[in-house]
């Protein structure tokens, strides 16, 4: 009873005292950063998922990689590997590892040793070796690595000593280092893995993660928040914020509102229509960068009649891409002719582009035996992405274009996880989706998006398998001469133009909004957001 009274008195007193002086939100001097994200991560291990949401929530917050990309230049810079050496034949990579790198200490794990070669072996072997005790944990799918066939090309990962690792390849791979610097090549703790096996709960490794990154995991409540805490012994130096919270806010307008009221410090994927509001608000700042991405319309080439290139070309011809660029991207994107954005070195400026021609489209459809009134589904992804800020709106526009050529399109959408699961099963006729590059290498577009081995891993949304195309892409990796590689990719572009497994739509700029008192944040063109070095100023 006394307690109850005390409690009541405390509420009343604290409310009245504070009520005397108007207090604004910024007065809550709780040291931390709130990041408004757009969706739920599927786990806290980016090895298991190519979704940007998972990468944002874990790749650079919880983990480190052997190598990193410089966010500005895209060059490969040291991460957990101090230095590296590539043998003359391009088959042996030797990494010298950093010493005294501490893993997170949390209520569920206390490390007894610092990072060493065992952790590198553990992390790579998990996705590489089917017989690894953790390979099958959490589904056994490693979409990024599997779509690149990386495991097949690695002959051995050898521990030379505690801080030196050698990786032997079967064939030279000019994009190998770049792959190790992507969000997906994170380093897990072997010791934690061992502990979980002893406890009999191996899947916890992906849900209650341990890494070496700037923040350690505290709590995750789906659809609500993810809470992180500063990693006090972070090897790159002191992390400024004691806390990091991901406020999961799927609606873009709500994220903007929270940014304005100061409930968020950083917000992802502002809608194109909101950009001017952000620019005009003096408390807010808009970051903007040309993105390494492509938004496209993929046909399910395993389903008739979409297995017929003529049908795909006819449908592509029915769409006026320029209108899509104007109305969906508000001119903050470049028209896409091939898979590669203009910022890539292998971009082919004179690639063939399919032109808007509804008359020709109707004729082609008729010739392929598609009667007027033909019905198909048009899947529109439910989340905003740089490469497609509003797939729903785009789908509605395309619906009317398709109607003009006598095709009845039904728009289909689910929540993001269901959407991707159903896509992977190939339930769609066509889908509006896209791809953000994980590294600067052109192979990162051509291989995961359209090769045969990318079908089961769910990155080949067109479910398109063409041995001649695969052959070209393989060839491109074996040559080191960039001009020669460019020519090969030009050939691939020509093939895609003729076959049209997907219609490239746009290469979009990337936007991110933040409050003015947030410093040291840049847009990471090469993957997930990096919040470790961010400094928030309190006035």
């Amino acid at each position: 009873m006394i307690n109850g009274l005390r409690f009541f008195a405390f509420v009343v007193v604290s409310a009245t005292i504070s009520a005397c002086s108007p207090v604004s939100n910024s007065d809550i001097k709780v040291n931390g950063l709130v990041f408004c994200s757009e969706s739920n991560p599927s786990s806290f291990n980016p090895q298991l998922d190519t979704s940007g949401t998972t990468a944002d929530a874990s790749a650079h917050q919880i983990y480190d990689r052997l190598l990193d990309f410089d966010t500005e230049s895209g060059n490969i810079v040291p991460g957990l590997a101090d230095s590296w050496l590539v043998s003359g034949d391009g088959l042996v990579y030797t990494f010298q590892l950093k010493r005294r790198v501490a893993f997170h200490t949390t209520p569920y794990f206390t490390p007894t040793r610092t990072f060493n070669a065992d952790d590198v072996l553990f992390s790579i072997n998990r996705w590489r070796q089917v017989e690894h005790p953790y390979h099958k944990v959490s589904g056994g799918f490693y979409p990024y690595f599997q779509s690149l066939d990386l495991a097949d090309n690695i002959v051995a990962v050898k521990r030379i000593n505690g801080y030196r690792v050698e990786i032997h390849l079967a064939q030279p791979d000019s994009s190998f280092l770049a792959n190790l610097a992507t969000d997906f090549a994170v380093v897990l703790s072997a010791e934690y893995g061992q502990q979980l096996i002893e406890q009999g709960t191996p899947s916890a490794i992906d849900n209650r993660p341990i890494g070496t990154g700037p923040y350690k995991f505290v709590e995750y409540r789906p659809n609500h928040f993810i809470r992180f805490e500063r990693h006090d012994d972070y090897w790159r130096g002191k992390v400024n914020q004691a806390q990091l919270v991901f406020d999961i806010t799927p609606r873009s307008a709500l994220r903007l509102a929270k940014l304005i009221t100061g409930e968020c410090d950083i917000s992802v994927f502002p809608a194109q229509s909101e950009l001017d509001v952000i620019r005009d608000n003096r408390d807010l700042e808009l970051l903007e960068k040309p993105g390494l991405n492509v938004g496209f319309w993929a046909f399910n080439t395993q389903k008739p009649p979409f297995d017929n290139p003529d049908v795909r070309r006819a449908l592509a011809m029915a769409i006026d891409k320029n209108t899509l660029l104007d109305t969906v991207y508000f001119d903050s994107a470049r028209r896409a002719t091939s898979l590669l954005p203009p910022s890539s070195w292998a971009h082919q400026s004179n690639a063939d582009d399919i032109n808007y021609n509804p008359v020709q489209a109707r004729r082609l459809l008729q010739a392929s035996g598609i009667e007027p009134g033909f019905e198909m589904t048009l899947w529109a992804m439910p989340v905003q992405r740089a490469y497609n800020p509003n797939a729903m709106k785009m789908a509605r526009l395309m619906q009317s274009y398709l109607k003009d050529v006598g095709v009845e399109a039904t728009i289909v959408s689910y929540d993001w996880t269901t959407f991707r699961n159903n896509l992977q099963q190939g339930l769609h006729d066509s889908v509006l989706i896209g791809w953000s590059a994980d590294n600067v290498d052109p192979d990162n577009f051509y291989r995961p998006l359209l090769t045969c081995s990318a079908i089961p891993t769910g990155t080949n949304r067109a479910m398109w398998c063409n041995p001649a195309y695969d052959e070209l892409i393989e060839q491109a990796l074996l040559v080191n001469d960039t001009e020669r590689r460019k020519q090969i990719y030009a050939q691939a572009n020509r093939m895609l133009y003729e076959q049209m497994p997907l219609m490239p739509i746009a290469h979009a700029f990337r936007f991110q909004a933040q409050r003015n008192n947030v410093n040291n944040l840049t847009i990471n063109t090469y993957g997930g957001v990096r919040l470790g070095g961010v400094v928030k100023q309190y006035d």
Binding site: F7, S24, I28, H224, D247, T249, A257, K258, I260, T418
Partner: protein, 336 residues
Amino acid sequence: MIKILLRYTNLLVLTLLVVVIFSFALAYLFPGEPYTNLTGVIDEQAAAAHQNLSVTSAFWQYLGNIFAGDWGLSLMTGQSLADEIAITLPATLELSLYALAFALLVGLPIGFWAGLKPHKGIDYSVLGASAVMHSFPVFWLAMLLVLIFSLQFGWLPMSGRLNLLMDVPNVSGFIFVDIFLADNIDRSQAAWDAVKHLALPTFCVSIITMATIIRAVRRSTLEVMHKPFIIAAQSRGLSNAQIFFKHGFRNALLPILPILAMQVTTIITNVMIVESIFSWPGIGNWLLQAIYQQDYPAIRAGMLAVAGAVIVVTILIELFNRIIDPSREKFEDVTF
């Protein structure tokens, strides 16, 4: 007295049973395996075994699980639904409780005031205002308030129940209790933050109920003040204040309780709408997510929890009303 208690318990159990049967039926009406819809587990063998059970034995099993606290798993998050509901339901009940308290706190005095001065300027303005309040669409009002108080002036936050950076461990699910129990934060700061987060949603939810209470209290005050015993008191020369507080107040209050019982449903419905606008982590918001994600086990369990809570609260208020209102005794003795 015992008879009354028994009767209400009987009513409670039977109604809850109907709700459980309905939620069980949902599992068969939803697409997909009934087994998966009931448990949230995708397991073909168990589903086949479940299919071989007769519907009645499947129901008894389900009822047993419900009582054992095993409400199944969410298809989306794989977490125990009972746990998720234990986190979200208190947030909803809390908001409902504060909204009801606020509606009473404001509605009762205004209603009495208007009832004591009938057909005067005050009365008409109160009546007019309550009619306006009653016709506000809640979601529209909520957005309007957000626009003014959060986005324009920046006085009040617009989402959640506490600044996310304040890590208050979830013990009871009621935010003030949890703040009081937490020891790692500045409590008065957190409590004030919670009050600010509560202000707009509480106001939005309470406004319709407040209008209803004002009108009901006004009418019953008006009626009571014309009763013979009041006129008798007046003729004895008692002052107006004495008459009201000694004779009028309690009698005027009695008709309010049944209205409150009915308002519980209104409030909880409104809370569920308001929750999604203010990102309040309550069960309405949670249920909406579940519906959007086609998480059938979660929809079933959420519906069960909300319906159960509404029934329990309504029947408790009815019971309370029955106990304190002796005038119903005679009538019921005849019919019982």
